[in-house]
């Protein structure tokens, strides 16, 4: 140690110089690794929020695109979680650090539209006469406004109902219908809880605003006025409506009979419910279709999948999608924007989408993907993996199942979740819902005022 110190003292300046050079070189190369393209190619910087296996699959897709042509080079850059990425995208706009192409999640659609920082993809669709009819209509309508496509849907999921088919067989319980009603789900959950002598909990429903919004969509009920924002900018929110009350009453029935287990909200809730489901301690849960991969690889039991449940005595309207879309920034030259659209077209191709679904569990958006070898081999191994795609194809888009085109959805969702928590803990349903409605409306008014009502 002493020798080292003596050496450092004697050679202080050279040591500092070397350290500085090394740090500088690392910074220089790491900064250049991500933004430089091969000579003669136009770089397209692409920000995304896909982590884990999805990132690997996305990198492969980008790599194939880059090899498929010689004009553009897409450079994918992971930007962390959806929520924070929205702020990064908005705050970096107009600087040379901003992306040419970016992925932004479902509930940021209104914000991106109002920011006027993007070129609606409709422009490129028209210029190229690109045929979008193969792409899922309910997914397209989520990211469009008044017939104009704002962004192209990319990674897409829908909530589905998962059940442990082996456990149901063991206890001689008829599985839920393909498109089950609330009471059908309750029947299975209660039977499972009773017949297992309380060893297996019947069901759970995560405290997740998205699931409650989907319950509204499936019952053809708007959460906000002006057709859930598809006709005009929303000015009023009504969470305290008969559909929400009915949905929460259904959950309350199950909580009261003891078959329901509450895992709370957030990522930990999802981890916990999946852990319990895989351990055979939970019969039913409703969650994004993107979890199929995880639920089939390590599952000793047979997995069953049904559509998102609908209220009794009512036909299912079909649920909206979740996930994210690809947007093109308008702060880059036309050549770059065109290149970004070339990649979008590549990403929506039948083979790209089939490989994407196989690798990630997100649903293939191109109807021609279903006959691709990647999906055929997947369905041969896991026939149940067909169900979410069928649910997606069955939904006919209308205002209530095309998402809520309103700003401040993050906060709205948070308030929905607070209301759900209150109800799950035994609080009064109308009171929790009217409290949430009040908070949401105050927030909506402030947002509209801060943006001058988007005049």
């Amino acid at each position: 140690m002493k020798k080292v110190m003596a050496f450092l003292k004697a050679h202080l300046l050279p040591v500092i110089a070397i350290v500085v050079v090394v740090i500088g070189a690392v910074v220089y190369t790491s900064a250049h690794k991500q933004t430089s393209a091969k000579a003669g190619r136009t770089p397209i910087v692409f920000w995304h929020e896909m982590g884990g296996p999805a990132e690997v699959a996305l990198d492969q897709m980008v790599d194939k695109f880059n090899k498929s042509q010689s004009k553009y080079e897409v450079i994918p850059q992971y930007q962390g979680a959806y929520d924070e990425a929205v702020q990064k995208i908005i705050q970096s706009h107009g600087s040379n650090a901003s992306p040419a192409l970016f992925q932004s999640f479902d509930i940021s659609t209104a914000q991106m539209m109002h920011s006027k920082y993007t070129t609606p993809v409709q422009k490129f669709i028209d210029e190229d006469n690109y045929n979008v009819s193969d792409i899922s209509p309910v997914a397209r309508s989520f990211y469009s406004n008044k017939g104009k496509q704002l962004a192209m849907p990319f990674n897409t999921s829908q909530p589905v109902l998962y059940y442990n088919a082996s456990l149901l067989k063991k206890y001689h319980i008829t599985p839920p219908a393909k498109s089950p009603s609330y009471s059908d789900v309750t029947r299975v959950a209660e039977q499972l809880y009773k017949r297992s002598h309380h060893k297996v909990k019947g069901m759970t429903m995560e405290i997740y605003g998205w699931l409650m919004e989907e319950a509204l969509a499936n019952a053809k009920t708007s959460l906000v006025n002006h057709g859930d924002g598809h006709v005009g900018n929303p000015t009023k929110i009504n969470l305290n409506n008969p559909t929400t009350v009915n949905y929460l009453k259904w959950i309350r029935t199950n909580i009261k009979s003891g078959d329901f287990v509450n895992y709370g909200s957030g990522a930990s809730a999802e981890t916990n419910e999946i852990a319990a489901f895989l351990a055979g301690k939970l019969g039913i849960f409703v969650q994004s279709s993107a979890y199929i991969g995880q639920l089939t690889t390590d599952n000793p039991n047979k997995l069953g999948i049904s559509y998102f449940p609908h209220p009794d005595g009512q036909k299912a309207n079909g649920v909206g999608i979740g996930g994210a879309a690809l947007w093109i920034s308008n702060d880059k030259p036309t050549k770059v924007q065109k290149g970004a659209f070339e990649f979008i077209k590549y990403a929506e191709r039948p083979d790209s989408q089939a490989n994407w679904q196989k690798a990630t569990g997100y649903l293939a958006l191109n109807s021609k993907s279903q006959s691709q070898p990647a999906l055929k081999s997947l369905y041969a191994k896991q026939p149940e993996a067909r169900v979410p795609g069928e649910q997606l194809a069955a939904a006919k888009p209308n205002d209530t199942n095309s998402g809520i085109l309103m700003e401040g959805m993050q906060l709205t969702r948070e308030m929905e979740e607070t209301a759900m928590e209150t109800v799950y803990d035994g609080g009064s349903i109308p009171k929790a819902l009217s409290n949430a409605s009040q908070g949401m409306n105050t927030n909506l008014k402030t947002t509209n005022r801060a943006n001058n009502d988007y005049q």
Binding site: S265, A267, T422
Partner: protein, 320 residues
Amino acid sequence: MLKSPATHSSTAPVTSDKAKSKAERSESGFWLNAKDKYYAWIFLGPSLLILGVFIFYPMFRTLYLSLFLTNTVGKPTVFVGLSNYINLLTSADYLSSLGVTMVYVLAVTVITIALGLILANYASKQLAGIGIFRTLFSATMGVSVSVAAIFWLFIFNPSTGFLALVSNWLHLPQINWLTDPGWAMLAVIITTVWMNLGFTFLILLGAMQSVPTTLYEAASIEGATPRYQLFHITIPMISPTLFFVSIITLIEGFKSFGLIDLMTKGGPTNATNMLVYRIYKDAFYSGNYAQASAESLILTVIIAIFTLIQFKVLEKRVNY
């Protein structure tokens, strides 16, 4: 006041007293001569620049933003004066956040220091194999926030977690640690105390070992009990360290973020929605920079008040 080795100062009172030292002269003059100014800028300029860019500008920008409403892209649009502050301080939601933060911070500080003191008191004894216990007690220092959160998430899991298994085995009613608003706060406090304990223990142990052994020897000869020695020798002697640890733990408590984000996300029913977590969510989830700025300033004032109280009250009891 700037001190400089001035040869003569233009504004220093001209006195005939030539015995007056150079240092005194420059100290008594506020205005510096040209050469002094030159040196002052060279030496202070860089730090002023850095402070200005990274501290003062963000501070004033936060204050400015907190007086406006911010639009979709985070730009201030409508001047609203103090109404962001008024809305916050009259909203039941924000006040409950304030309340839970206080409960959390005080509980974590008191429990951590009490447990740290007990453990350090035992571990400061010279016994065979005491090194093993010292290592064990301080082991949580090496655990990162995310690892601690995941570790405790597994313990609290209502279906497969350790606590669920124990209560199942003993036929006790099951507690929904992280989903029941009544218990979630306790769960987060337990995890934070567990995580902070290693550091607190180590610092207190170090302080205890620097107390001269002659004091204990003299007390033993006088017949003082170990308990009496703890309260009348150990604690007064380590009081500067206790003071330091209490401030650090308190401020860390106010800044607690990672655990909340990973374990409860501020839920259930905002039961663990601490001030810092709320600021983060308002700014980076909702993009409501105006409100987040107002919240930041309120938090700054609160921490300043607590630190001031500690300096005024605790410092008097510190035995240097």
